[in-house]
């Protein structure tokens, strides 16, 4: 019996080479001497602005490579808390996610401060090819109140999942606020159960469903609709959770999830922080500073302005960044 070496020889050589090559790649990344990087874990709805706007602009301005990852805000916080990710920068779609999941001794004091970077608001975006697009256009032109269309049988609309997305519970808050504002109590019950399967999907699926034309419309942040070029209907400031002047009214709404965690209505504010276990604190500071001075870029992507207030312990802010703080934020 003769063993044929014709196949296995080259295979072994190839395996050896690939192992060596993988090792070389690894040490290259670890030394990082040739190129600095910043890793950013951010709330899913920011994907477009981060990947096409802020990320490339930051690399262009500083030469530091940008690595972004999008997840739900709560999921980001859980990843950091579980030490499954050690990002240099964390951007949340809800200031309170910092307080609830990452700050304080119970959470290992992973985050000690955060700063407001931008605001947004809830809008009703629709697919321009929907069979109901004409009616949505009439609503957008102010000829019909938006809730009339939402109430209409056959109009299919989506919203986020309140158990995993802040946008999910924020959409729940819009309806009781609207019931008050329009004096139409029936708006309180129009959404059905918080988990109503006719409406609820995770954020990424929601956008895909509207773009694929399988939902006529869905509740989104304004900057998401703007980023995807979806036409949208804006809601009054009293109910869209976008105006800090109505914070007291928003705060009367609350939602308690299955785990017993209660969240209250609040203006939609995005925050930035540098977790305690960041691997590259210096590039993290550079990135946060860039973000806080990129007002025009954020505008261009549909975000609103906010004073850069600080939540948490101001003495923990890196000294290089104190000049950027515009007072204290009390959630």
């Amino acid at each position: 019996m003769k063993i044929n070496n014709g196949v296995f020889g080259p295979l072994l050589v190839w395996l050896l080479f690939s192992a060596l090559f993988a090792g070389a790649l690894d040490s290259h990344a670890a030394s990082g001497s040739s190129k600095q990087t910043v890793s950013v874990l951010y709330a899913g709805p920011l994907a477009t602005v981060m990947e096409y706007g802020v990320g490339p602009a930051f690399t262009q301005a500083t030469g530091i490579a940008y690595q972004g990852e999008a997840q739900g805000s709560v999921a980001c916080a859980q990843l950091i808390r579980g030490h499954l990710r050690t990002p240099d920068v964390f951007i949340s779609a809800d200031a309170l996610v910092n307080n609830t999941y990452l700050m304080g001794p119970a959470n290992g004091d992973l985050v000690k401060w955060y700063m407001l970077i931008a605001s947004s608001q809830i809008v009703l975006a629709y697919n321009p090819d929907s069979p109901h697009a004409k009616e949505f256009e009439e609503v957008a032109a102010g000829k019909m109140p938006w809730y009339k269309l939402i109430e209409k049988p056959g109009v299919r609309f989506g919203r986020g999942d309140p158990t995993i997305d802040p946008k999910g519970y924020r959409t729940l808050f819009v309806f009781p606020l609207a019931a008050n504002y329009y004096h139409r109590p029936e708006l309180n019950t129009i959404l059905g159960e918080p988990q109503n399967p006719a409406q609820v999907f995770p954020e990424i699926v929601l956008m895909a469903r509207v773009e694929a034309g399988q939902f006529d419309a869905s509740f989104f942040y304004r900057h998401e609709a703007a980023a995807r070029n979806l036409p949208y209907i804006t809601l009054p400031a009293e109910i869209n959770l976008g105006d800090p002047n109505f914070a007291a009214e928003y705060a009367r709404q609350s939602y308690t999830n299955a785990q017993g965690v209660t969240v209250h209505g609040a203006p939609i504010l995005f925050t930035v922080t540098i977790p305690g276990d960041a691997q590259h604190p210096e590039t993290a500071v550079a990135f946060a500073k860039f973000l806080l001075t990129s007002k025009d870029l954020l505008h261009q992507y549909g975000f609103g302005d906010v004073p850069h207030q600080l939540g948490g312990d101001s003495s923990q802010v890196p000294p290089q960044r104190r000049s950027l703080v515009d007072g204290a934020f009390k959630p």
Binding site: M1, I3, L12, L15, Q71, G72, V74, A75, Q78, L79, R81, G82, L84, S130, P131, R156, D161, T163, I164, Q195, P197, A198, V200, F201, P202, V205, A208, R209, A212, G213, Q214, N257, A258, Q259
Partner: protein
């Protein structure tokens, strides 16, 4: 000669052992950190029980449908002398190559309330989106290749001489299939059906897009991971692992029993 074969086994054993370690270590670490008391308590939560029920019922129905439709398809592929047979078999492989997320996007477009197929169904009050039907559809899309390919090769392996003998003895095509081909191919079909069943139990990507609700076990695991982090997800990972173990045992038993009866029937 002996020595060289020993060296081969040592070299292969080392390579294979590394791969095996990569497969087993994550599972071993799950078992090592398992807190059986709190984890089994997590299985009793309403959400987990509902998800287990949804996963079991949909996966069994999906496997039954795949078997009833997939076995005839594989028999046609193996025996009907189709033109361009390779092409048809290539088509069957496609869902295996496609990431299940991509499969989900395509299914969503087709079966959504405004899709080509979904719209007429919806107008008759039958919603595929976020329903048991949607879950089963996603499972069938990703898992069918397993049973079709397994049954196809099982039918291919049946000795044509035996079928011809039965034909000469006056059996019809249906009688040949029932008395000769099916009993001989059955162990392969059963193995394919169990593989397909295991695949449906773990299906996530396509299901997420087509039917986020009601949550199957993998979707529920993701939701718990998103909302509660590791301690929410790990108990469910263990539950899925145990289900997989049960499925593998069932598969082994099934192919043994059916293997015996299969041979016995032919003899």
């Amino acid at each position: 000669m002996r020595n060289s074969s020993k060296t081969t086994f040592i070299a292969f054993g080392a390579l294979g052992g590394l791969l095996l370690a990569a497969l087993i270590l994550p599972i071993a670490s799950l078992l090592l950190q398992a807190n059986w008391i709190t984890w089994t308590a997590a299985w009793k939560e309403e959400g987990a029980r509902d998800a287990l029920y949804v996963s079991l019922t949909t996966s069994i129905v999906a496997t039954a449908i795949m078997t009833v439709m997939g076995v005839p398809l594989s028999y046609v592929l193996a025996r009907a002398g189709l033109p361009a047979k390779r092409f048809w078999i290539g088509l069957v492989f496609l869902p295996l190559v496609l990431p299940s997320l991509a499969g989900g996007i395509l299914l969503m477009q087709l079966f959504g309330p405004y899709g080509w197929i979904g719209a007429p169904l919806a107008s008759h009050g039958f919603e595929v989106t976020n329903s048991y039907a949607g879950i089963i559809l996603a499972q069938i899309f990703v898992a069918s290749p397993f049973i079709i390919i397994a049954s196809y090769s099982a039918f291919e392996r049946v000795d044509p001489q035996l079928e011809m003998a039965a034909a000469i003895l006056g059996d019809s095509r249906w009688q040949i299939l029932r008395r000769v081909s099916l009993p001989l191919a059955w162990p392969g079909i059963a193995a394919g059906a169990t593989l397909a069943w295991i695949r449906t139990l773990g299906e996530f990507g396509a299901t997420l897009l087509v039917a986020y609700n009601p949550h199957t076990l993998p979707v529920y695991l993701w939701v718990k991971f998103e909302s509660d982090g590791l301690h929410g997800a790990l108990p469910l990972a263990l539950l899925l692992l145990l289900l997989a173990v049960i499925a593998v045992i069932v598969s082994a038993l099934l192919s043994r029993i059916s293997g015996q009866t299969g041979t016995a029937m032919v003899e």
